[in-house]
Amino acid sequence: MLSQFGFILLFIVGAFLMLAGILGMARLLRPDKPNDQKLLSYESGENAEGGSLVSFNIRFYVIALIFVLFEVELVFLFPWSVVFGDKQLIEQTNGLWGWFSMAEMFVFIFILSLGLVYAWAQGHLDWLRPDQKVNPFKSEIPSDLYENINKKYS
């Protein structure tokens, strides 16, 4: 008699077997003619430049974090939507169930959006460009000289 964990083990073993079978079959069937272009990480024709360990602007991470937050929120919304429309529950509670679960989900989304508001208020959503450096060098040629030349030959 297998216990519950035994089934899980069987499942894992099955998954590995399946994967090995499919990949092995593909390996046997497909033509194999590699060239430089095919071996690039992006096959879109762009050539990769430099190492992959360059530092990105930290703001990418902040935005990515906020994005992930709202992605995960969706995961909670799916099961909720199933329970939300459960007929039996609605009948049992005389229709109160819908309002209750609706309110609960709004509280949840409200708290999440508070996080967004906080990040917004902190200025994490503004994409600040680096300040442009002005060269302190002062040219002896007056600046309107060029404009005059442009005017003259335009």
Partner: protein
């Protein structure tokens, strides 16, 4: 339950309070919120029951634990100072995270279902990872945060795996159900044993008990002192009572299996903690090792399933909280006295000449050290007494002798700061102390002495 709900919302409010008037209301508001949360705990007083679909259990003892945690938090917040020394500090965030972490701590002490325990551990740990790394420009702080995060996440993984295994073995998450199943069945499945061991490993890691203590010295030293204090007091208390609920209220029938694991951890924690502390120069590092040895003592209180274990552990925790708050608090009060490269000096030598510069601070420090060392007249003595008499039986008596002999080693290093206090210093000017610090110090020191003279006041009340 009410403190949990209240703190979750007050944390959010605190976050946004940071935008008004440069966040000067954040600290008073946090203290107010914590006070309201403590009062809200009394709504459930004398009304034992379960909440959240039997995931959280409320009774008077659990409420008392929540109160101890909240009141300690009030003390700690009171001696914090808006984090002026940290560059680009977002103090509102830190106070908010502290409130969130308290939610986790209370969940860990009041849990009924192992899922709630896991949630509590995660909330508390993630908050602590963040707080450890708040001083972004401090390399040691960064190292500490990364170390704590990586090792801690690993330990949480093991903990979760253990919970899953226990579910596999018993088919339930509720600790009542687990203890019921264990009482009726004699032969247990192998998964249960593996699960229990993994659960223990995860929690012992959070408690900083040897051999899962490797993160402790670096993290204690690297984190800002106020969060080190937070870790040494609140996290420890929460974890010990989580362990208490698991070992004494659900797995008490498997006492034979876990008592040997615990005995090994106790012996190692006591030996490693006490012996390593001897050579430390940094005060925080010394206290980190001392906290390992105190973890050993707390586990000693868990070793034997007895009726008084909960009381003894609570007494131990309270006296340890009071003494640690004094000790770290004195270090915080001296933060600006001697600095090196813009950072405050946290070595024991910072106390040099304190006896002449500020007799008040030196008295506070001396009493806290005596209490940590377990010398009579302070709460530390009776807390050791209660824990040891609970653990005393023929089987593990050698552990008690070991604990007491290593206490003598403890006296050796706890007295180093005391001797330094009386050394002569080149600086003579008196130290001015913030009045809030004064109030807190008077409270903690008097508390330590009262516990030392009349232990029945607390022990008889529980």
């Amino acid at each position: 339950m009410y403190p949990i709900l209240f703190l979750s919302f007050s944390g959010l409010i605190t976050l946004f309070l940071g935008f008004f008037q440069e966040g000067k209301w954040v600290k008073p508001a946090t203290i107010l919120f914590l006070a309201i949360a403590s009062i809200s705990a009394f709504i459930d007083w004398n009304k034992p029951g379960a909440y959240f679909f039997n995931m959280l259990q409320v009774n008077n003892f659990n409420l008392l634990l929540s109160l101890v945690i909240l009141i300690t938090a009030i003390l700690i917040v009171a001696i914090s100072d808006n984090f002026k020394e940290i560059e680009y500090a977002h103090s509102a965030e830190y106070y908010a995270i502290m409130q969130f972490s308290l939610v986790g701590a209370i969940m860990m002490t009041n849990f009924q279902s192992l899922i709630m325990l896991f949630l509590g551990v995660e909330i508390l740990s993630v908050s602590m990872y963040v707080l450890t790394g708040t001083d972004k420009r401090n390399l040691r702080g960064n190292e500490a945060a990364i170390k704590y995060f990586l090792l801690g996440a690993f330990a949480t993984g093991i903990l979760l795996f253990g919970i899953a295994m226990i579910y596999g073995g018993v088919g339930a998450f509720e600790i009542d159900a687990i203890s019921g199943t264990l009482a009726s069945n004699q032969a247990q499945s192998l998964f249960l044993y593996i699960g229990l061991v993994m659960l223990l490993i995860g929690l012992l890691f959070k408690l900083a008990a040897a051999p899962f203590h490797f993160w402790t010295p670096d993290v204690y030293e690297g984190a800002p002192t106020i969060f080190t204090l937070f870790m040494a007091t609140i996290v420890k208390t929460a974890v010990v009572f989580a362990l208490y609920r698991i070992l004494h209220q659900s797995f008490q029938n498997m006492h034979l299996s876990w008592s040997y694991i615990l005995a090994g951890c106790i012996a190692l924690s006591l030996i490693i903690g006490n012996l390593s502390a001897v050579k430390q120069i940094s005060f925080k590092r010394m206290l980190a090792f001392s906290s390992i040895s105190h973890a050993g003592f707390l586990l000693l209180g868990l070793l034997h399933v007895s009726k008084t274990a909960d009381k003894s552990l609570l007494f131990y925790s309270v006296s340890y909280l009071l003494a640690s708050t004094s000790a770290f608090g004195v270090l915080l009060a001296l933060k600006n006295e001697r600095t090196e490269n813009g950072r405050s000096n946290e070595n024991i030598s910072v106390f040099k000449g304190l006896a002449t510069r500020s007799p008040f601070l030196s008295a506070v420090l001396i009493i806290s050290m005596l209490s940590l060392a377990g010398i009579p007249l302070t709460g530390g003595f009776w807390s050791k007494f209660y824990v040891l008499t609970d653990a005393a039986n023929d089987q593990f008596f050698y552990l008690i002798v070991l604990a007491l002999l290593l206490t003598a080693v403890g006296v050796y290093y706890y007295f180093k700061p005391i001797i330094t206090v009386f050394e002569k210093s080149d600086i003579q000017e008196a130290i001015t102390i913030n009045p809030i610090f004064k109030i807190i110090f008077v409270l903690t020191t008097l508390g330590t002495l009262v516990l030392g003279l009349f232990p029945d006041l607390l022990y008889g009340m529980i």
